[in-house]
């Protein structure tokens, strides 16, 4: 047993950290460090910087632009990106549809789509959830019917993150209603500019615009945009969701936030002592750090076990990572609320490029409450924490 990283891994971490420090534009760094959301341009700019270095999608097969790093290096990479306040790569392309196309797509699909994901020439969004199909994703009702050499899609998707920027959407649609619900679903790639696709924004409780409804009204897409086989879409969706696992715990995000909490709590905003001198607060902060340390180790154990496990078999331990990782993201936003105190109150919505304008209260205060509210989502999406508990009960405990 050796709980330390190897010399090579340590050097690799330093290399990534150094690259982020030297190449991440300061304006993007400052914006994200301040708790603001990156703009579309910020994400594109940074993705292209990474892509130029050959790090656009490190976990992909080498022939399509991946790096060949092992799981530990991949996790170090993600951790450093998150810690360094760099935008994360757009998961819908690099972690979701990219690997699906690379694994199940035709050669033509690979050549057409993968290079454009790598440097974010194509912005992808995820068309899985529907108003009636959330946790019960297989209950989806959007339909695709064959008409000559096109598929005609009708239905509605919802909660579609950042669809307002998207060039493409990958869609699960029902292609056979006469069989078991998981066995009649297919996986399609749809150009957002196709006639009949309509995007309607959904405003979130923090006032932001990150999710949308996407309507399909007789949307005709070429047959070549079906992925893999008809009615096998559920298998590809399961494969996709199991790939989400890399970084699901978002340890780096919580680490970055803990560092920020320490920094802000030492400032001394109210009264004659900084929040950091409050023993109750210090204990809560320590408790969060203990949990995060444990989670980081748990994640490493899962990764290490994954090196010898059979490929493609989902590991129910990832549910442990999801539950605790999401809880810690939420706990850290609560600690920030403790630090900001009464000046959580003013509502100062982000105004695009004017995010850096003078604010009411401490200049770092305006994002704290919105982040707390918004972060409630992390225990709802990606398989809700209740669903994760059911997976643990079934797959780990055999109950």
């Amino acid at each position: 047993m050796d709980l330390g990283f190897s010399a090579e891994e340590i050097a690799f971490r330093a290399e990534v950290r150094d690259f982020v420090a030297k190449n991440l534009p300061a304006a993007i760094h400052d914006k994200l460090a301040g708790g603001h959301h990156p703009s579309k341009d910020d994400i594109v700019t940074w993705t292209r910087i990474l892509a130029a270095k050959g790090w656009g999608a490190p976990h992909w097969p080498v022939e399509w632009g991946g790096t060949g790093w092992d799981a530990i290096k991949l996790s170090i990479f993600t951790d450093e990106i998150q810690r360094g306040h760099a935008p994360e790569s757009l998961a819908f392309g690099t972690s979701m549809v990219g690997p699906v196309i690379a694994t199940f797509g035709t050669q033509a699909q690979k050549e057409r789509f993968l290079p454009r994901i790598l440097d974010l020439r194509d912005w992808w969004c995820q068309g899985f959830s529907e108003p009636g199909a959330g946790s019960d994703l297989a209950g989806l009702r959007t339909k695709a019917e064959r008409d000559g050499d096109v598929w005609v899609i009708n239905g509605q998707k919802t909660w579609t993150t950042l669809a307002q920027y998207a060039d493409w959407i990958f869609v699960l649609a029902r292609t056979d209603s006469s069989v078991k619900k998981q066995e009649g679903i297919s996986f399609f790639l749809c150009d957002m500019k196709t006639p009949g696709v309509t995007v309607r924004p959904i405003q979130t409780i923090d006032g932001g615009h990150e999710v949308n409804e996407v309507f399909f009204d007789n949307v005709r897409i070429p047959a070549e945009n079906l992925v893999g086989e008809v009615n096998k879409g559920w298998d590809y969706a399961k494969f996709l969701l199991s790939n989400e696992r890399n970084g699901i715990a978002r340890v780096g995000v919580s680490k970055a936030r803990l560092a920020k909490i320490r920094r802000l709590a030492s400032l001394g905003v109210y009264g004659d002592k900084p929040k950091m001198d409050d023993p109750v607060f210090r204990m809560k902060l320590a408790a969060a750090e203990v949990e995060l340390k444990a989670l980081e180790m748990t994640q490493m154990r899962v990764i290490a076990a994954g090196r010898t496990a059979p490929k493609g078999k989902p590991n129910p331990m990832s549910s442990v990572l999801k539950i605790k990782g999401s809880e810690l993201q939420q706990t850290t936003t609560e600690l920030l609320m403790d630090v900001v105190g009464p000046y959580a109150l003013p509502y100062q919505p982000e105004q695009g490029d004017r995010w850096n304008e003078p604010s009411v209260g401490p200049d770092w205060a305006s994002t704290i409450a919105p982040t707390y509210f918004n972060t409630r989502k992390v225990s709802i999406y990606g398989g809700s924490n209740e669903i994760q508990r059911s997976i643990i009960a079934k797959a780990i405990l055999g109950l």
Binding site: W159, I205, D272, P342, A344, P346, A369, K377, S379, I380
Partner: protein, 378 residues
Amino acid sequence: MDFDLSDEQKLIADNVARLMKDKYGFESRKAYGAAANGFSDELWRQYADLGLLGAPFAEEDGGYGGGAVEIMLTQEAFGRALALEPYFACVVLAGGALRHGATAQERAELIPEIASGALRLALAHAEPQSGWNIFDVKTTAKRDGDGYRLDGEKGLVINGDSAQKLIVLARVSGAQRDKDGLGLFLIDADAPGVTRHPYPTQDGRRAAEISFAGAKARALGEPGQAGPAMARVIEDAIAALAAEAVGAMAEAVEMTTEYLKTRKQFGVAIGSFQALQHRASDMVVALEQARSMMYLAAMSTSETDAATRARSISAAKAQIGRSAKFIGQQATQLHGGIAMTFEYKLGHLFKRLTMIDMSYGDADYHLARLGEGDSLFD
């Protein structure tokens, strides 16, 4: 022990509940909130007509002779509806400052104007550096002729953007955090030397940062003696917020229950999943604990022993904060994605509950205070 309401109190509760039902659907609330002042002038008039604005004041001051229970009933109904009118700012906070800190003559002059709905006051007591310490006051009041001149910065003045007059807590003597040496001062909100920076709040209300530069004001009560009065104002305010929080929590529990019954996944109502039933049941436990402490807070406002009163109020605020956090978070979780949308009421209940916890000391703050003192039990 007696938890029963008098006939007059029942009438108030019924009247407010009916008004909220008729006029405060969530869509209507959106329209009220979009007004420049962030609330409905029309409803403010109706509150006056119903006697809500004068209810908690003594008859000799021009009120209708009620008190903490009337405030509690009103605030609970407002909490359910997420009502936006400045009842808390004007009647509870500024009205409290008058009740506890003004002379009989001043009360007789101002309270009838509050009761009639003609005068909307806001209380400017907090400052950018004060946190939850109400005695941390840098703003100064210096004698000038028959009045005073105010200099300094006030922060987080609830409904301070649209109030016609402000009651300002300022220092006439002593050091920045001394309990002694504080005074209450009345000033027109648009008087020379007053600059207001208005903004919306996370919970859909309005507030302002207000600076004073040699602004001419008149004293209320005895300048220098306002410290103990302010402590009581904040205790009353906490009792009122406890009731508002209980209303909002009850609404969140009801909405969640309804959602569990109607939302279907996997072919069944999600309320059939025992994991969710148990979570919802825990929400009920948290709500009932909070409701009990709401009563304790309301009753404690008239307790004469200051230490006992402060302990009970802190205990209530701690419980309210904890229950509000649990219910707000779990109601969101049990709704799934829909709870994350601005269009839906639940998220706004969650935000209001969060901001109530962040007002006048969060749960940790009051627990720490309690931890330093005697037991709550004899």
